[in-house]
Symmetry: C2
Subunit: 144 residues, 2 copies
DNA sequence: CACATTAATGATAATGATTCTCATTATTAA
DNA sequence: TTAATAATGAGAATCATTATCATTAATGTG
């Protein structure tokens, strides 16, 4: 609940880059860590303002970039084009099941698919640096 | 080279919706069909202007939407967030190998992966409507 | 063919997300 | 405590996309 490990990672990152600490960044980091949802910058900003109403838009974006660089978060986009942010620490690589009805994202992994993706790339002489997969549809809950 | 089939599909679509034909739409359609690249709206607009310099931005976007509705094109987005458009007629479902060096997109399919994706969804009680997969890395050409 | 109807167009304004600028404030190391 | 400099927030700027609207063009009818 206190996210000591993540905070330590971020502190180290800030220190190593010769940056300074700030209360705003801590507020944003803790708010980000506290939800498992895949939020947009604006949605995160709204949440952060409950904790600290003075925080500006630019600071949210700037901090999100730093969280990305420090390996704590990852930006991704679904087909709607909106940038969303998800936890990276403690979340190994995974793909998403996206419910088009309720908007929920489920994280999934299938090692067999991962392997086949590598084979496919290799067959085309392609050196993989990353990959993503999304399955869109209707989730179990929404099917009733 | 004349894309009769695609033009017929679009004409039928326009007629069935009670819309009207226009030279601008034909210019945009033909320009779109003539390239196998995965263009953004702006890139397509530049190309179209070589054929008809008077065509406006809004018309390109409006036509792209109609091409989507008529099943001739599909909008998609890579991780850079830019909307791109690709041919749908004569291009069955496929995934993309995206070269981060030259930006080239290669279209690929692996039936085994497709099958496993369906199994994975089923296992989670998920009813699939569509799915996408992208592999990012360096293509064969750029590796030298 | 001429006409009335109505869709299409292009210029431009508006929007929404994100980034930039800059004067002010806060953090840090000495 | 202070000097150096990074961080902040407000608001301007940007970029892609969409909406508005007066004008133009396509269509079906007689």
């Amino acid at each position: 609940m206190a996210f000591e490990e993540e905070q330590r990672i971020f502190d180290d990152f800030v220190r190593n880059k010769g940056l300074k600490h700030s209360g705003q960044r801590r507020d944003i980091l803790l708010t980000f860590l506290k939800t498992e949802k895949h939020l947009t910058a604006d949605e995160l900003h709204r949440l952060v303002k409950k904790r600290n109403p003075a925080i500006g838009t630019a600071t949210v974006y700037r901090t999100l970039r730093l969280l990305g660089e420090s390996g704590l978060c990852r930006e991704f986009r679904l087909d709607d084009g909106a940038a969303r942010y998800e936890h990276l620490y403690g979340h190994e690589h995974h793909d998403h099941l996206v419910c088009k009805s309720c908007g929920n994202l489920e994280e999934v992994v299938d090692p067999k698919i991962e392997k086949l993706q590598e084979d496919l790339a290799k067959k085309h002489g392609f050196k993989i640096s990353s990959h993503k997969m999304e399955i869109y549809g209707i989730c179990r809950k929404c099917r009733n």
